[in-house]
Symmetry: C2
DNA sequence: CTGTTAGCGCCTTCAT
DNA sequence: ATGAAGGCGCTAACAG
């Protein structure tokens, strides 16, 4: 009951097969596929029937080769294991596929040299555009893209001087929000648990935004301790340990990610430090878990899914057209929950004691 | 300084251009690219230099069209916003790209009709294999893949009778582990917060494994309440509410996902139910957060990244060869942490009181 | 080891 | 509105 063709390579059904069965020319089938309304009723119906009968599936390589349009978008992100990036990719992919675009993605592990290689591969695959994270990239990566006429979109950041489109938010300003919140609560001694800033403009901007804002408000630079840590809960906890050991007066902690904040909370629990009575904590990202920590985490909300969707919109609209550089700023907001409060009396007293000790020693 | 070609479509550099500059035939360049060792030193060097000089980037559509090998793998998962799937995709993509394969993925939102459409698209794109989640699929999806000679791998589940390769774990057995743990601790009244079981064999198998095991151990079916909820923390919390209202005697709760367990913990906190003194909770997935809830969550560890890597290994090895069906079982283990203990005295008393009430009423 | 030739399946003029 | 013809860039098969 099965013919030899089951065992050998089953010659795929081509547009010509459909045309033959439908009694028309291949070109007409192609038209039906690409400009449905350009084929009149009778022929159109015959073609549709033939397609269904033969289970015709179009060969995208041939289409891409001939038309020079791949409908393929590439994305290179640091890692997918980070919910915030997964969300962006999720939004991007969903919106893209609604318009017939496919998404192909790679992870760079925060390494911009790896990123360059991935970009090469994606260009080779025919990606019409590449979505990147952040604005810090090897210049040869950008050159490659420009030279090949591949559009490039940077997300999660904004850079006025960038030679590519940015769809993101103001990390500096977002960190300012956290600083303002904490200082207006009356805190005087701060720590920041930052992500690794090397080659990471988002992490860096957040540190700058936090520190600059505090300093502007009159906080001595010496009263701000900054510890860097990879975005891993365990690392957040140990960064919190370091910060507290470095300056026990700290009553306000800003974390570059909710992941780090969860670690910070764990460390507070271990040391029986009460949050927010003894120490206030502000996170970043507004992950799902942020509303369910104990107490619930005050954090900066980042519209990750919307960012993916906006990026898709831009790519779809702008698709084969002129590729002028644009800048889309998404808004971040601070979500006040349970980890922030005015510094407690106990800590104020301890803090004063510490200050006296410190100023007495040199 | 710029020629007209900057404004118009920049004719891409082809293999022929490289060949001309290197002083050899196009086929030789192709060989150098695909079987580097098949080209002798002098020519090879000339080719490499020409490639670098011209910034040649190979056109993958043409390659795929001609060679009938796309080196493209498709994956269709329920959602990326779920860390467990994101991890699998992450592992899959990393391992695949090490071998020159690209991954293209879509999300189905747990809808197997959407899944079929995605599969069509991926086949059209030339995917050599499709990675699916679970074993419950439209038969036309599988037919499409078989007929087109596209390999198909189901992950997260195992099915002996499946007509495709399974690389996953035994969900039924995993749930048994949880049941055994809880019953051996002395619990008598159980709840399960399950994922939505409709069209989801994993969620279903977990319910069956949990309930069957308890019943085998002599627990009356009436002492097991099962509530379904989407994998969202807030839903986990409200499912916990329902479960507790349905049967206040419950002292042991098994959750089909750590996400639901976090919700359950939140609800316990709200009701001042002590975990694990009053109620024990077992999760599923062993997400990063599981080790940092308060108390840390006892849970079933699922090797999501390893599953992605194993899938990639299978696809790479088996690539153009025979596509015989295989079955790779990964091991799950229970990770004992702080949310499980023997039922506390207080609850035992309450529970007995309840039981008397119940048995007295009918 | 290298060159020559042909054609993968499709889309896109151009002609009707 | 439809048909005919050519070629996108590459690699496989065959010579040499």
């Amino acid at each position: 009951m099965t013919t030899r063709s089951d065992r050998t390579k089953p010659r795929s059904v081509r547009i010509a097969d459909v045309a033959k069965l439908a009694g028309c020319a291949p070109a007409t089938v192609s038209r039906r596929l690409n400009n449905p309304e350009k084929v009149s009723g009778d022929v159109a119906r015959a073609i549709d029937r033939a397609i269904a009968e033969l289970h015709y599936v179009r060969n995208d390589s041939a289409r891409t080769l001939r038309s020079n349009r791949s409908r393929l978008i590439g994305a290179i992100i640091p890692t997918l294991s980070h919910s915030i990036y997964a969300q962006m990719i999720d939004g991007l992919q969903r919106r893209l596929s609604e318009s017939g675009f496919a998404l192909i993605h790679n992870t760079s592990g925060y390494d911009i040299d790896v990123e360059y290689e991935q970009a090469r591969l994606l260009v080779e695959r025919g990606a019409e555009a590449i979505v990147l994270v952040g604005t810090r990239h090897r210049s040869k990566t950008i050159d490659l893209l420009n030279q090949r006429n591949v559009k490039c979109v940077a997300t999660y950041s904004l850079d006025d001087r960038a030679s590519f489109t940015c769809i993101g938010f103001d990390n500096y300003r977002a960190a300012s929000l956290a600083a303002e919140c904490l200082i207006s609560l009356g805190h005087r001694h701060f720590a920041m648990l930052a992500g690794i800033t090397r080659n990471n403009d988002r992490a860096e901007a957040r540190v700058e935004g936090f520190v600059d804002t505090l300093v502007e408000k009159g906080v001595p630079r010496a009263d701000i301790v900054v510890c860097e840590a990879p975005y891993v809960i365990a690392e957040g906890r140990s960064a919190m340990e370091r910060a507290l050991d470095l300056d026990p007066r700290v009553t306000a902690v800003f974390c570059g990610s909710d992941i780090l904040a969860v670690g910070a909370l764990a460390e507070c629990r271990r040391r029986s430090i009460k949050v927010p009575a003894d120490v206030s904590i502000v996170g970043f990202d507004n992950l799902e878990i942020a509303a369910y920590t104990d107490p619930p985490l005050t954090t900066i909300d980042v519209p990750a899914i919307a960012m993916g969707e906006e990026t898709a919109n831009y790519l779809i609209r702008n698709s084969p057209d002129q590729s002028r550089i644009r800048r889309v700023e998404l808004q971040v907001t601070i979500v006040h929950r349970g980890t922030t409060a005015a510094p407690g009396d106990r800590m104020i007293i301890e803090s004063l004691a510490q200050q006296e000790t410190v100023s007495a020693s040199p």
